[in-house]
Amino acid sequence: MGYQKRTKEQLAARIAQDIPDGAYVNLGIGMPTHVANHIPAGREVILHSENGILGMGPAPAEGQEDYDLINAGKQPVSLLAGGAFFHHADSFAMMRGGHLDICVLGAFQVSATGDLANWSTGEPGAIPAVGGAMDLAIGAKQTWVMMDLLTKKGESKVVERCTYPLTGIACVKRIYTELCTLACTPQGLRLIDAVEGLNHAELERLVGLPIAAA
């Protein structure tokens, strides 16, 4: 039986579909940034950037870049009408204080109960860097992960226990991947949806862990 993987843009659109009107959202660097392009028309979603922006807008037109107005990935962005600037301690108070509704992060591994590993591969000699990952992971009301389910070698990145250094414990609520959407619960994984044609038994085989039915 055949099934089609979600493309990166389809995955971004799948996540955007679950972001409700009025939500305050932080999109992590890299793949999660694409989610902004797929917010359904008519929904007002306020984007937060860790370096002190609420109401962040899209990249400016070429020639209009202002390097005092950048996102967490250091790329030029714009400010929507109603947007605000604030300092770093206030910005992280928004995260840690539980004021952000959703953050979407990339990951190296996520455990079935929601432990997240996304800041270090733990390789000897590598220079460590953490940025805002640990504050975001434990701070938002809901942390969602956007990642490929399988590595290039076909190994599942959803695991029983993370082998990479942890970013946070039991902080991930949902995992959005090219094949499925999973909920992380204290009891383990629960299916939210899978791509058409991918049956439950095959998905459990790919992940190598039990997945409760939707």
Partner: protein, 233 residues
């Protein structure tokens, strides 16, 4: 009469002691006080501990300061960048100590120092390598890690405009660490692009009240990335 306006960067930075902890504002291209970093290099203080979100890019600014060999330790959240080769080499050869701090803890530890807080419990990093060996406590069913403030002898920050009392306003995301660092250092020096008369800054909109600022120096707005100026069309 209070007049915190310094005639030059060198005048504002003449008394930096060896062994000082120096906070440097900025995140990415925004709010980096490059002119003050160059002044610190000219001033020549050694054995410094630098607090910044990053650990220098390319060969200028903070990277140039690291290259002088006068920095003993860097406290930051994200040292690794595509062009952080100066830091990378010093760190790998053991010539530079690194204290890696989650970005929110970095901001809050600086804020705590400025607010006279002795320590605080924070949920960030609980159960991870970065909380190893630190005191923890369960409060209201949640796990927290004890974090201590970061104090400094000197804070170097970049603002948009200021007056002779030291009141400051910033520009867009160049604000970042400036306001909290200004509170946490014994001496804060800010560059501004505009010096205005007392009363010209809207009192409702002043971000850093002058009590936190010791010296301000006017610099030209440069049309470079770090200058935070729209590139010429």
């Amino acid at each position: 009469m209070i007049d915190k306006i310094a005639a030059s960067i060198d005048e504002a930075l003449q008394d930096v002691p060896d062994g000082a902890t120096v906070m440097i504002g900025g995140f990415g291209t925004a709010g980096i006080p490059n002119e003050l970093i160059e002044g610190l290099i000219r001033q020549g203080a050694r054995d410094l501990t630098i607090v910044n979100n990053n650990a220098g890019n390319g060969d200028h600014g903070l990277a140039a300061l690291l290259k002088t060999g006068r920095v003993r330790k860097v406290i930051c959240s994200f040292p690794r960048q595509v062009d952080s080769h100066v830091f990378d080499e010093l760190y790998r050869s053991g010539k530079l100590e690194l204290e890696l701090v989650p970005q929110g803890n970095l901001a809050e530890r600086i804020r705590a120092a400025g607010a006279g807080i002795g320590a605080f419990f924070c949920p960030t990093a609980f159960g991870t390598e970065l909380a190893k060996g630190k005191e923890t406590r369960e409060i209201g069913g949640r796990q927290y890690v004890l974090e201590y403030p970061i104090h400094a002898e000197l804070a170097l920050i970049k603002a948009e405009a200021g007056d002779r009392w030291g009141n400051l306003v910033y520009r867009m995301s160049a604000r970042n660490f400036g306001p909290v660092m200004a509170t946490a250092a014994k001496k804060t020096v800010a560059t501004v692009h505009r010096i205005v008369e007392l009363g010209e800054l809207d009192p409702e909109a002043i971000v850093t009240p002058g009590i936190f600022v010791n010296k301000i120096v006017k610099i030209e707005r440069v049309a470079t990335k770090a200058g935070g100026f729209r590139k010429a069309a």
